[in-house]
């Protein structure tokens, strides 16, 4: 029995962003894991001292490239709460549609990375090829593939016409049909099942004890989803949180697979239920300075994100805090890694969907 310490990271083929876990091993089994983060800490929360509240939205949406839209939306929604701004309904529907498209894009990215992590590169390329279509939709409607810059305090900057929305829906439904084939690969391929089934099991009690959020918790049988609170027009669409009970890596893959189809369905409902007609107002003009504080909760692809904004009546905010879902899932990750085999560690770390840029801001 030999005790070794292996640093996992900061560069590892499986990690989209750098994080270090010092793994303390006894032979091949992990006894403990000590995290060190800070490789991508840019001090973005400190920027509130330098950037006025009107432009801080652009800084916030650049916290992370994968979750970019929801960061911008969360910031604008928080400021709108503080300043009591009434956002036009069409703008709120557009935000919901863009947020769900962002969720599809993020899950496709993660499914590709997950496939790459256990060596299935063909599937990885296939998922990312489908993701390219989503990024083209973003570029057509917002002007940018990753950073969208459409959210403003008071609404959105660009409208999508009804005909364009119908075209986007048709394209997404076609994508959903093509994605069905890929989903079947994830669900039935024997090599994937062999690598993921029974690996990294997080029981329901453990998931509650470490306060897991998002697909991590839903794969362990806890039906939490911030969208159920009904805020931001989610009470006008019908959906159920996708829950699996096995709690292993395969369950987490299945939850994210099903959420892609669920998001396409939510977009279809949103396009049906939103007010029709071109030329509607999409932005309310905002004047003055904010004063007050608010907590805003949204459901990002990785789980519950909490934005805390405190303003003190000047053009500079006093505090901005984004508690991202990966930050809440790191204790779950450490708990999972302890007791597993070394060869399973990359898979396990990837299944929490680590977005370290969000964690460290």
């Amino acid at each position: 029995m030999k005790r070794t310490i292996i640093p996992f990271g900061p560069q590892h083929p499986v990690l989209p962003e750098p994080i270090v876990l010092d793994l303390i091993l006894m032979d091949e089994k992990v006894m403990d894991a000590i995290p060190t983060i800070g490789y991508i800490h840019r001090g973005l929360e400190m920027m509130v001292e330098r950037v006025e509240y009107t432009e801080m939205g652009f800084v916030v949406e650049r916290i992370c490239g994968i979750c970019s839209f929801m960061h911008g939306m969360g910031y604008c929604v928080s400021l709108e709460s503080i300043m009591n701004v009434e956002v036009p309904e069409r703008a709120r529907w557009l935000r919901l549609i863009w947020a769900e498209i962002s969720r599809i894009q993020s899950h496709l990215l993660w499914l590709g990375l997950g496939a790459d992590a256990f060596g299935f590169e063909n599937l990885f390329m296939h998922c990312w090829r489908m993701r390219e279509q989503i990024l083209d939709i973003f570029e057509k409607t917002t002007g940018g593939r990753i950073i969208h810059s459409v959210n403003r305090i008071g609404g959105v900057k660009r409208d999508i016409s009804d005909s364009e929305l119908a075209a986007i829906l048709a394209q997404l439904q076609e994508l959903g049909a093509a994605f069905g084939e890929t989903a079947r690969v994830f669900e039935t391929d024997p090599s994937i099942r062999h690598r993921l089934s029974g690996v990294g099991v997080l029981t329901t009690e453990d998931a509650r004890a470490v306060d897991a959020v998002g697909p991590m918790a839903r794969a362990s049988g806890i039906a939490i989803d911030t969208r159920l609170s009904g805020a931001h027009l989610y009470d006008r669409v019908d959906f159920e949180p996708m829950v699996e009970s096995a709690g292993d890596c395969l369950a987490r893959v299945l939850v994210r697979l099903r959420e892609v189809d669920q998001s396409i369905d939510i977009i279809r409902q949103a396009i049906e239920r939103m007010p029709k007609g071109d030329g509607q107002a999409i932005e309310t003009r905002v004047r003055g300075v904010p004063d007050g504080e608010v907590f805003t909760r949204l459901e990002q692809p990785r789980g519950e994100v909490i934005y805390y904004v405190k303003a003190n009546g000047t053009r500079f905010l006093e505090r901005f805090r984004a508690r991202t879902p990966t930050f809440a899932n790191i204790p779950a990750m450490i708990k999972l890694v302890k007791g597993s085999q070394l060869a399973d560690v990359p898979n396990i770390i990837l299944t929490i969907d680590p977005c370290i840029s969000c964690t460290e801001r």
């Binding site: 060190t36 800070g38 800490h41 330098r50 004890a209 306060d211 907590f295 519950e304 909490i306």
Partner: protein
């Protein structure tokens, strides 16, 4: 702050099945020139659609008890507030000993550091472009 009362409230949230959502600190500078200001700490708990916070105001240098015995996931937040704000949190479950973030300035959100940066950026903003 009243440690016993605070820990009792935290225990109640834990027993009722609430989840720890966030521990947030805001550095509030004082309006008087010589006073250092306070830290506002908010412990946020969530259960389903409910969201409640415990708020405390503490002086710089005061100690804050860790809630790791009830909420194991608190260690990450508490290490962070110790490193970024300089608040002395006692009894953290997993103590990372100041190695969590590697910032260029230690304790970047202490009152002195925030005040110094605000003065520098105000001076620069006046002569913008």
């Amino acid at each position: 702050m009243d440690r016993a009362a605070f820990l009792a409230r935290v225990e109640e949230y834990h027993r009722a099945g609430w989840r720890l959502a966030l521990i947030n600190v805001t550095t509030v500078l004082s309006t008087e020139a010589d006073m250092p200001g306070v830290f506002e700490i908010a412990w946020a708990f969530a259960r389903g659609g409910g969201f409640e916070t415990i708020r405390e105001q503490i002086e710089p240098g005061a100690t804050v008890p860790s809630i790791s015995e009830f909420f194991g996931a608190a260690f990450l937040y508490e290490n962070e507030i110790r490193e970024l704000f300089g608040i002395n949190v006692t009894g953290i479950g997993v103590d990372l000993k100041g190695q969590l973030y590697k910032t260029a300035t230690r304790v970047p959100f202490s009152h002195a550091a925030v005040k110094a940066r605000l003065e520098a950026t105000r001076a620069a903003a006046v002569k913008h472009s």
